[in-house]
């Protein structure tokens, strides 16, 4: 997750109606110092944003296994596996899913 995404998520979790832009040299190089509040929106304290950013990062990291599983799931031709299993009486689909779950266990 780049810095821009992390700051944006943190702000919107603190206030979904926040009106702001963030300036920086790149999406990964922005900081809370680059936030500009617009249209009279009351600024959120930088410390509050930074604390929320830690929570956002923790939540993101906790879903790492799910993102890895999804990548593998998307690579499977699941309809074909299910059909083959129905025709042949095999368990290739179930086996493939279990193998992915085993490779990336839920913490």
């Amino acid at each position: 997750m780049d810095a821009n995404t992390k700051i944006t998520k943190a702000i919107l979790e603190l206030n979904a109606n926040a009106d702001f832009i963030i300036r920086g040299s790149s999406p990964d190089a922005v900081t809370v110092a680059g936030i500009e509040w617009l249209n009279g929106f009351t600024p959120i304290a930088p410390a509050d944003i930074e604390a929320k950013m830690i929570e956002v990062q923790t939540a993101y990291d906790a879903q790492a296994y799910a993102r890895k599983r999804k990548t593998k799931y998307d690579a499977l031709n699941q309809f074909e596996l299910i059909s083959d299993d129905a025709i042949n009486g095999t368990t290739t689909h179930k086996d493939a899913i279990l193998a992915i779950k085993s490779e990336f266990p839920k913490p």
Binding site: N4, I7, T8, I11, L12, A18, D19, F20, I21, I22, R23, G24, S25, S26, P27, A29, V30, E36, L38, N39
Partner: protein, 228 residues
Amino acid sequence: MSKVKIQGNASGTGVLTVTAPNTSTDRTITLPDTTGTLLDENSSVPAANLTGTVADARISALTASKLTGALPAISGASLTGLTSTQMPSGNIVQFASDFDGDFINLNSTSWVDTALSISFTPKFSNSIIAVQAIVNMYNAGASATHGSVQLRLMKNGALLGQEMILYSGYGGTEALVVGPFPVYYAEVQGNTSAYTYKVQVKNDNTTSGASHNQYNGLSSLYLWEIKA
């Protein structure tokens, strides 16, 4: 010793008189050691016999017919009185550019300045001022609506030309519109005052992510003054 011989002319009848000036100083006039005729104020002098520097005061006019062949280099800084009439129509009088790689996350529906900015002063009031910006924009589609972003040229804080809108499709972050987008305008300014040109961007709908300069590559702003 050599001698001085004064000889009359058998055909003439006039009397040639040699007179002394009104002076109290002794002088010696040395005759040239060549065969020829002494010159007076009415005599013609062959140009080939001239040496040294001809004083400016001796030159009354320099006609165009004399300005041929290998002319000396003349500094452009020495030229004065240059006006628009000396330039053919369509010539570029001057050019300016600015480049911007700074990122902006657009989580607002307000117009915001990019870092692109040029202060430009035309040389001639009737010139055409052509303005072009090429702006890197990123807009992710929202799950249930189009995303859209806009860009525009500004001149001293006022809109120049029209706002340009870019739409992304439905379907979340995979329905991207991303890349460099151009916006142009051209006008006759009508004076030679300095104006500041800028580029502004905005996100129309914050339910879809939008940004300026999301990826590598510089956005740019160009101005040309073109002779009318």
